[in-house]
């Protein structure tokens, strides 16, 4: 039981947190909350890209006064938005709708991400198919010389410069340790 207890506590904590988050994130149906939400979803009709909530223009003030009345009349949020769309067109909506030309607004970022992912995949594939380091002509000559020297002397060939350098450094360290 003792071994299970911490997991149980953790599970309860996560469950409580999840319930709390879900409860907080679900939109309230209270008239005031709906009005505030609509004020953020509708644009000020005489401003440029400004939400109704942020604007102090006369028309924005009038709409902010009108929205609670429309809610009190029993109109749904969608019906209220549609009411303003009929007057100003879809430019009054800060969030584009899911049909017609507004689909471009939703679709473009997705297309851009897909194209970007393809681009990255293509570039990675291209880079990985190329050797990171290519041997120069000098390297080839050096390797060939070392190989030929090894064949000639049966492994007791003159040391290639790199090997000579390494052996030299090892001998130096051995001297230091002593």
């Amino acid at each position: 039981m003792r071994r299970v207890a911490p997991w149980l506590v953790l599970f309860v904590l996560v469950a409580v947190a999840a319930v709390f988050l879900i409860a907080r994130s679900s939109p309230s149906d209270a008239p005031d909350a709906r009005a505030r939400r609509l004020e953020h979803e509708l644009a000020c009709p005489v401003c440029t890209g400004e939400a109704l909530a942020e604007s102090n223009a006369p028309e924005a003030r009038a709409m902010k006064a009108e929205i609670p009345e429309l809610i009190a009349d029993g109109m749904s949020d969608d019906a209220i938005k549609q009411h303003y769309v009929e007057i100003w067109g879809e430019r009054i909506l800060l969030k584009p709708q899911n049909d017609g030309i507004a689909l471009i607004a939703w679709g473009l970022p997705v297309i851009a991400i897909i194209l970007g992912a393809f681009g990255i995949a293509f570039a990675l594939r291209r880079w990985s198919s190329q050797p990171r380091l290519a041997a120069t002509a000098d390297d080839e000559v050096e390797v060939e010389r070392a190989r030929r020297g090894g064949e000639r002397t049966g492994g007791d060939a003159p040391q290639a410069p790199i090997r000579r350098e390494r052996v030299g450094r090892e001998e130096e360290h051995a001297g230091d340790d002593a």
Binding site: V46, P58, E59, A62, I87, I104
Partner: protein
């Protein structure tokens, strides 16, 4: 340049082209929109003039009403004023013609001073504190001009400064019932 790169460039070019066309079709100019096939809506509106008279389609039966939204601090409104004066001079004696200037976002004292100084002959009204006229017409700023046909239908609208030619075209559209 490899074939694949050429195809990618062609694809990107096509996407840019399509987006340019879509944007060009959706960005409106300041030319008036005319005709019942474009605008075929009636608007419920009424305002009280500076002289205390109520003006609405109901009080002007059988007449074509030119509604101009403006204010005294708007430079384009001042720029279009000569066209409005000339247009009004031309048509003020027409038995079926009414012209109303509705002021948004301004003070009555400033408007009265302007009207006196510039000898504005047509009816001027302040939009009320709830911006009811602006909301009814779907105003997006000023100057904006609407022409209401005798049947109450909006026969033409122009967002931005108007000209004599545009005003005449909208008046013609309203009178002809097109």
């Amino acid at each position: 340049v490899s074939t694949r790169v050429r195809w990618i460039a062609l694809g990107v070019g096509l996407v840019v082209l399509v987006l340019s066309i879509v944007l060009a079709l959706n960005v409106g100019g300041s030319e008036p929109t005319l005709g019942a096939t474009v605008i075929n809506k009636s608007i419920d509106w009424n305002v009280t003039s500076l002289d205390g008279e109520e003006v609405s389609p109901a009080t002007q039966p059988g007449k074509t009403i030119v509604v101009n939204f403006w204010n005294t601090w708007c430079i384009p409104c001042l720029e279009e004023a000569p066209a409005l004066h000339e247009f009004y001079e031309r048509h003020q004696d027409d038995p079926d013609f009414v012209m109303v200037g509705i002021v948004r976002d301004d003070t009555e004292s400033a408007v009265r001073r302007y009207v006196d100084a510039e000898q504005v002959g047509w009816t001027i009204a302040m939009d009320d504190e709830n911006s009811r006229a602006s909301l009814a017409f779907g105003v997006t700023g000023q100057p904006e001009t609407f022409v209401i046909a005798p049947d109450g239908r909006v026969a033409g609208e122009q967002r931005g400064p108007t000209t004599i030619a545009d005003l005449e075209a909208m008046l013609q559209a309203a009178r002809s019932g097109s």
